[in-house]
Amino acid sequence: MQVPAPFEYERATSVDHAIGLLERLGGSARLVAGGHSLLPMMKLRLANFEYLIDINDLRDELGYLDVRTDEIRIGALTRHRELLESDELAAAFPIFRDAEKVIADPVVRNWGTLGGSLCQADPSEDLSAVCTTLDGRCVIRGQSGERVVPMTEFHRGPYETAVGDDEILIEIRFPVRPRGGSAFEKVERRAGDWAVVSAGAAVWLLDDGRIADARVGLAAVGPNTTALPEISAALTGREPSEELYDEAGRLAAQGCRPESDMRGSEEYKRHLAGELTKRALRRSVERARERG
């Protein structure tokens, strides 16, 4: 039987209360939301804490999807299921629905959260790749106020984030730009598994059809989900074409840092990184064009 080592359970009644508890308990405490990553790690004794602070009662403060014309703000306690089902979110960023369809399974998605996924900082985590692709900004709150950290600086290594011991991730913000399209591609060994490799792409077009900006985020091919700035640089200002997607795929295959493991060899993962990048870019451009 797998059970976590003993800990004290606390339930936060507000974000401020949670921060107060974290201030007092420091690194011996950890926030728990869905718990679908944290509890398995605690069962395996890969993570041990003296206190768990349950934030599931903070839905009023942290469970929301705020869709504005120039920005989308998502509360950290928003559950996978809500991200999957939101038509507004899918209209602005179809990459979310693509990804949520293949993250874990419907029952897990009922309970797991966006903030928990990002704070787990698993190198194979799909939503982290989505947020990296979309240039998400993470709002972190502590006793002294809020700070905003871009996704590219949010993860500090496997299972490590920019969130301090006495801080809480409260929101992720995504800039909405005109003529955009996005998509997510994943290869997994079986339904609901972690990615062998997954790739997100987002493209924004100029009025003349050339690429104003493009971003790619890869999961499971390095210590953290990777944004590959060299791909953005190579695509900006260019006319979308199969040759261009090939070029981006080559850059992805070269630029990522996969390791051979039970999910596949390094060579196979580089192949996937290239192929999935191409597919995601192709679909992103199609979607951007459909939106006109």
Binding site: V3, Y9, P106
Partner: protein, 173 residues
């Protein structure tokens, strides 16, 4: 610590350890062994119960987290001594062999039908994709859920039929 929750409509309060998982609370503390405990890693889904009406994997939820919430287990499916149509479907269509995955499958199936009364086979397969059955190959499970959907559609159709006014029986024009 003390935890209180509603389980199958009944208020329960118990003294527990913070680390106690919901599945063990249900089985070992309350004696509700209908909920099975399988892989322990949220992969197999035999431990699925409802938390506030939504299926969750109870091996990966702390009992303490369910405090103040409403839990429903397979023991709470039958109403007033009548098996739920999902349970009947599993009987009619051979939806189980060894029965280990069955409680979780039925809880997910019931939740699916509550939201989508006429799911396609693909929708059923998607709904149970986080649950593992090693006996049936899933075909009979899908058939069982379809049976329940059809049965409930019939029930609804019957309920919609206006009752025949007594005065017209036998003498209708």
């Amino acid at each position: 610590m003390q935890v209180s929750m509603t389980v199958n409509g009944e208020e329960v309060t118990r003294e527990i350890e913070g680390r106690l998982l919901l599945v063990h609370f249900l089985r070992d503390v309350l004696g509700l062994t209908g909920t099975h405990w399988g892989c322990d890693t949220s992969n197999c889904g035999t431990c699925v119960v409802w938390l506030d009406g939504r299926p969750v994997k109870s091996c990966t939820v702390l009992a303490a987290m369910a405090g103040g919430h409403e839990v429903r287990t397979v023991e709470g499916l039958a109403q007033n001594g009548e098996l739920d149509p999902v349970q009947r479907g599993f009987m009619e269509c051979h939806g189980l062999q060894c029965g280990f995955c069955t409680p979780g499958m039925m809880m997910t199936a019931r939740a699916l039908l509550n939201e989508n009364p006429d799911p396609s086979p693909d929708e059923i397969r998607e709904a149970i994709s986080g649950q593992i059955c090693r006996c049936t190959g899933y075909a009979t499970i899908v058939r069982s859920v379809r049976w329940a959907a059809a049965y409930e559609a019939d029930q609804r159709a019957d309920a919609d039929q206006p009752a025949e006014p007594a005065a017209t029986t036998g003498g209708a024009p």
